[in-house]
Point group: D2
Chain length 366, copies 4
C-alpha cells in the first residue's frame, strides 16, 4: 500500500520536498471529533527546525483542511490536509543530482523509478513529508485524549548522552509534551544540544534513540500472529525516515535476561490487574495487557553531512567524491519525536476502531 | 488480517497446540516451483526440540500437502499444508488454566476472547503454530534459491555469549544452513548450550539475538514510507512469539554513530555498484540497494519457567502463586532461527512478486 | 488477495476437485459462537447434487473442524474446516486435458498458470471448492441469526420459468430455508425441474437468476464509495463460479424507471423509519438504510454439456471438436443458492464486525 | 478501505460538494508516464453538465497536480490532484437539511455519521467527487493506451431508448471517445435527449444502462475466486453513485440461455486464439481470455427530482413532504460514462501491475 497505512482508520501521504506541496488524507476517523487547528499548529511547531541544531530551511507549514471537517468537527469522511511548499531552493540539487548521497534513497530511488523520480531535496523521500503525518496525527492524538489515552516520546539517548527513564508514565507523558526539546531530565538538554552543535561544526551529524509511552490503552487490543500490536506499529514506524530499529519494552536488553527476570508478574490490587514490571512493554502475545505500551526507535544520524564523502555518479556508475550543499539538520531526533507520536497515534486509533467499532471515538452530539 | 500476511504471496496460519492440528495455506506462489518434501522435512527438523536444551515434547511433524501441488510442482493456487497434533498432554493445563502465566498471552487472550480461547498449551498462541510457517517457508526458500537469493540466520548472542559476526555473507549463509545449532563460530556452540542447560537446571530460561542475512536480492525492491522493506518485514517478524525487537543493519548501534561513519559510501567496481560498509542493512529509504539485507531480532527468554512465580487467578482476579507444570524449552532461540528464515522468505517472495509480477518465480515448463 | 476475502472477518479457501481435499479457514469470527455441526451438515446437504437435475458424482462432504472451535464454541482464532475428496474419477480428464472446455477456466488457467494447473475436474476452479464456503458460511449464518439477521435465497427464474417475488421477507426467508428446491411458489418446482431435465436429455444445460434477501440488518452499515455495501458484496459474489451479474433492489429494471418511481419514500411509523418501496434494495449511498437488503445474481448455464462443441487443443492451439465426458450438472442454480447465502453471510459478518467491533457477535459467557 | 481502492495501483478520494475542494491521490502508477493536462481537461469536460439535460451548476473543474509529476511525467510516487470548489450555493440546503431526500444518502449518512456529516449538496456522497476519479483515471487511460489497451462506454439504453450494440469493438471505442453524447448510433442522440428533457419538464428524472468495452487486454489477468476480474471491477464500479447493477458479457440475459448457446467456443486462427461469441464478456473463471472485456452498469434515475416527495424529518423522525430546491440533473448517465471509463481504467492498471509488476507501464527513459 506504499503511501497508505491502516484499515479502519487510514492515512495516505503525498508530496515532494520541492514540489507544489505535501499533505495527507486521513480516512475513517469517527465523526464528531473536535478539530483544534491551534493544536495542529503546535504539533507542527514541534517538528519545525529550530536554532543551530537544525537546518536553516524554514517552512511556514501553513496547512489547509480541504475536506472532512465541518463546523469544527470531523464528519467521518476523508480529511485532506494540504501544506504548500514555499521556501524551496531547488537549484542546490541540480549540480549534484546524479551523485548518490550515502545513507539517502537517491540510489535506491534510481533503481526503482529509473530516473523519473523528483531528485530535488530527496523528493518524495524527504523528511518534509512527515509534516503531513504530524498534522493528521494531531487529530488522532486529540481523539485518543478524549478516551483517556495519551502518547509521549522522549529522547532516550542522543550522541551518546542518556536521558532518565520513564518513571511515572502518566505524568512524564504530560510533561514531555510541554517541552520543546524532549528530555525528561532537563539537565540533559544542554549537553545533548552541545553534542549536536559540535557535530555540526565538524560537518557531521548524530543519531539517537527515541522512547515512547502510550498510557491508558485498554487491555485486549491487537491480534495474535501477523497483526500483533508490535507488528502493526513497527510496520508504520519503520516508514519514518532514519528509523532503523524498533523494540518493545526492554527489547534487545531482554536478550541478556533470564525468564525469571524478564517475565512481568501479574498482580491484582482490588480487582485492578497490572504487572509488577513492564519488560514486555505492555504487550503479551501481540495483545495489550493494560499496562503502558512502551517502545523505542533507533534513529540513525542524519545522512546529509557536509564532510566530503565517497560515492558514485549514477549517470555513469563511476566513483566520484561528493560535497553536499544545501541546508541540512545535524540531528533530526529532536524533530522526529513528534513524528513518532503522530504515527503511533494514527496506528492506535486504527487498532481501537477495528477492535471496538467505527463509533469508538465518536464525539458528543452537539 | 490477523492470521494472514502478504499481498501477492500470502500465508494464512491456523491451529492450536492441543487441538486437531495446525497448518498453513500459502497462496500466490508462482506455478511450476518444484516442491521437495524432503527439504520441508529437513526445515521442520531444524525447528524440532532436541536434547536437554529443549522441551521433551516430541512432535512427529508429519505434514500433508492437501492442495496446490500437482505432479511435484506448485500449481499457482493455494497450497494447504496440514500438520496433525499427536503428542498432546492436555491434562497438564487443566488445573492451572485460570492462572495467567507471566510473559505468556494467557491474560491478554482472556481480555480479548473472554474465556472462550483454547487455553491448553497456549492454544493458538503456542510456538507450535510456527511449524506451519516453517513448512510454507520451505517452499518460499526453495523459490528464492532458484533466483539466486539465499537466507540464513545465526545466533548472534545467547545467554550473554556472542557468536562472530557475518563475514563472507554468501558463504556464511550456506554454512549456517547446514548446522543444527546455528553459530558461525563452532567454538561458541558448547558454551551457549551449557548456559542454556545451566538455566534449565535452575528452572529458568534464557534469550538472545538472532541475526539474519539475505543474499542476492536485486536493488529497487520495497516502497517508500509505509511499505518499506523494513516495515513489511518487521510486521511479520513481530508475529513470531518471543520477538520483542527488530533492527536493520547496525540498528540500535547507529544511535551512537556519527553520520560520517554510519553512511555507507557507494562504490563502483566495473559497473557493479556496492557500498563500502553496510550499516543500513542493504536498505535505503525503505528500498533495497543490492547489498545483503541484514537484520536482527531480539528473542526474549522463554516465559515458561519452573520457578515459582507470582500471578493472578483470572477467574477471581486475585493474586496467586504459580508453579508451571508440563514440558517446556529453557531456550527457543536455537529453534526460532528457522522460523525467522521462513517468515523472511515468505515476505521477500511477496515483495518480489509485487515488484516483478506473479510469474517472477515461475518454474521451467516440463 | 486471490483466495482470501474479508477484513475483520475473513475466509481463505483452498483445494482442487480431484486433489487431497478442499477446505476453508475462517478467521476473525467472534469467540463464543455455538458451532452446530448438524447445521453445517444440513447446509452442505443443500449444496449436494440430488436426482436427475444434478451430477451423478456423490461426495460425502464429511468435514472436520481442525481448529478454532473448543468445547463447541468458536475460540475467536482461525477455524480450519477440512473436507477430503473421495469420489474422484480423474481418468475422465486425462484424455481431454488439452481441450479447452468452452465457458470453463481451462484456457484462462493455461494462460495464467502455464500448464502447471491441476486440470482434473477444473482443479481449483471447480464448483466443489464452494463446499468450504458453505461450511464456513454456516457458522456465519448462525452468528447472524443470534443478532436477528437472516438470509435466504430463492430461484427467481430458471430456464425461463419465474418464481413469485419476495412478499413478507421475514417469513419468506424462513420458509425458503426449509425447502430443498428453493422456490417461494411450490407450484414452480416441477416445471423448473422438468425444464432442467429436458435440457439434460438434450445434453444441454440451463441457467437462471437467484434472488437473495437479508432481513434484520441495522441501518448505517457500509461505506461511501469504494467499500459500499454493494461493492464489497458483489466483489465476493462474483467469486462464485457461473455468476455473471449482480444487481441490488430493482437493479437493471431501474434503467427504465423515472426518479419519481425509483425513489423509495422514507416513512415513519411511531419513530420506526422504513421506506414505502425498496427499489434500492435497502442501500442508499453504499450504506444500509434498515430495510431488507435484496440482491439478485445472474447464474449462467452450466458450461459442462454433453453436446459436441468447437474448441481448441491448447497443446497445439489448433481447432478441435470436444465431446465432454464425466459427470456434470445440467443446472447448478438449485445448488448455488446456499453458496450465495453463505458468501453473503460471511461478507455481512465482516461488515458488521468492522462497524461495531470484533465483539459484536460474541456469545454469552458460559 | 472506504475511500481508497487498489493494491499495486491505488486511488484515494476526498472532498465534499460544498467544502474547500475535492481531489484524488493516485499511487503506484509506474514512473515515466507522460501526463497530458489537456487530456485530463478533456476528460473532465466529458463529465461536465451541458445544456438542458444537465444541472445548471457550472464548475470550472480547474485542477492542480500537487505532487507526483515532474518534468511532465509520473515520478512513480503519489500523484495528488486538487480541484477546488467554486460555484457553491450552500444556502439551498440549509432549510431542508433535516429532510431525507429519497434515493439519496441523507438518511444513511445520518445513521452512520450521527449528524456530523456535511449535508450541503450531499457532502461527501455528491457525484461531484467523481471529478477526482476522472482526473486520476485520465492518467490511467493514457498509461493503458501506451500498452494498446483502450476503454470506451456508450449509453446502451436511456429512458427506454436503446443504442445499437458494440460491433467492431476497437473502432467503436475509438469513435465513442470522440463523442460528446455517447451513443454508437448517432440517430439515437436526439430521442434520448428529448426523453431526458421531457422528464425534466415534469420535474422528474431518467436512468439507463451504460455498456463498456475494454480492448487489448492480455489473457491471464485476474484471479480465481475472490479477486476475479469481475469481482474487483464490480467492487469499484458500485462505488459510483447511482450504479445498482453490474453484469459481464450477456449478464442477466445468460439466465435464459442454454449452455450450448452461452458457451463461447474457442477458435484458433493461425495460432491466435479467440472465441466465436463473447457471452462471457472476455472472462472465464475470473481471468481474462484475451477477448474484449465487456460489462454493463445499471444507472438509476437521478434521485434529485423537483416533484414533491414523501419523506421524514430526521430531527424528529416524523413524516414530512419534501420539495427539493437547488440545481439538479434530470439524468446523469451521459456524464457518468466517463466516470465508468475512469474507474475501469484505474482498476485495470492495478490488475496489470499486480500481474506483470510495477514496471509494466513504465515510460521510455528520456
Amino acid at each position: 500500500m506504499k503511501n497508505t497505512f491502516g484499515t479502519s482508520v487510514s492515512v495516505t501521504i503525498f508530496g515532494e520536498s520541492h514540489g507544489g506541496g505535501i499533505g495527507a488524507v486521513l480516512d475513517g476517523m469517527a465523526p464528531g471529533i473536535a478539530v483544534d487547528t491551534e493544536f495542529i499548529t503546535s504539533q507542527l511547531d514541534k517538528r519545525k527546525p529550530k536554532g543551530r541544531i537544525s537546518t536553516s530551511r524554514k517552512e511556514g507549514d501553513e496547512f489547509a483542511i480541504v475536506s472532512g471537517v465541518f463546523n469544527g468537527r470531523t464528519t467521518g469522511t476523508p480529511i485532506c490536509i494540504m501544506i504548500p511548499n514555499s521556501n524551496t531552493k531547488s537549484g542546490d540539487y541540480e549540480k549534484t543530482k546524479d551523485l548518490a548521497r550515502p545513507g539517502h534513497a537517491d540510489y535506491t530511488a534510481q533503481c526503482k523509478y529509473h530516473g523519473f523520480q523528483d531528485y530535488r531535496g530527496g523528493g518524495h523521500f524527504s523528511g518534509r513529508i512527515t509534516a503531513g503525518l504530524v498534522a493528521a496525527g494531531a487529530i488522532a492524538i486529540a481523539a485518543l485524549k478524549e478516551k483517556g489515552i495519551t502518547v509521549g516520546t522522549h529522547i532516550k539517548k542522543c550522541a551518546g548522552i542518556a536521558d532518565r527513564a520513564f518513571e511515572n508514565i502518566q505524568n512524564d507523558i504530560e510533561y514531555i509534551n510541554t517541552t520543546e526539546f524532549a528530555v525528561l531530565d532537563p539537565s540533559r538538554e544542554e549537553p545533548m544540544k552541545a553534542a549536536i552543535t559540535a557535530a555540526a561544526e565538524e560537518g557531521d551529524s548524530v543519531g539517537g534513540i527515541l522512547e515512547t509511552a502510550v498510557y491508558g490503552l485498554p487491555a485486549g487490543v491487537g491480534e495474535p500472529w501477523f497483526d500483533s500490536f508490535e507488528g502493526v506499529l513497527s510496520h508504520a514506524l519503520f516508514g519514518i525516515p532514519a528509523i532503523k530499529g524498533v523494540q518493545f519494552g526492554a527489547g534487545f536488553d531482554l536478550a541478556d535476561m533470564r525468564g525469571s527476570t524478564a517475565n512481568d508478574a501479574f498482580r491484582s490490587d482490588n480487582g485492578r490487574v497490572y504487572t509488577a514490571t513492564n519488560n514486555n512493554g505492555g504487550i503479551n502475545g501481540g495483545i495489550t495487557n493494560g499496562m503502558p505500551v512502551v517502545f523505542s526507535c533507533a534513529v540513525k544520524p542524519t545522512p546529509s553531512i557536509y564532510k566530503e564523502q565517497a560515492t558514485i555518479d549514477m549517470s555513469t556508475n563511476e566513483n566520484s567524491p561528493l560535497q553536499i550543499q544545501g541546508r541540512h539538520d545535524p540531528a533530526i531526533i529532536h524533530r522526529a519525536r513528534v513524528v513518532v507520536d503522530s504515527v503511533a497515534a494514527l496506528v492506535i486509533c486504527d487498532m481501537l476502531a477495528q477492535r471496538f467499532g467505527t463509533d469508538y471515538f465518536i464525539g458528543e452530539q452537539i
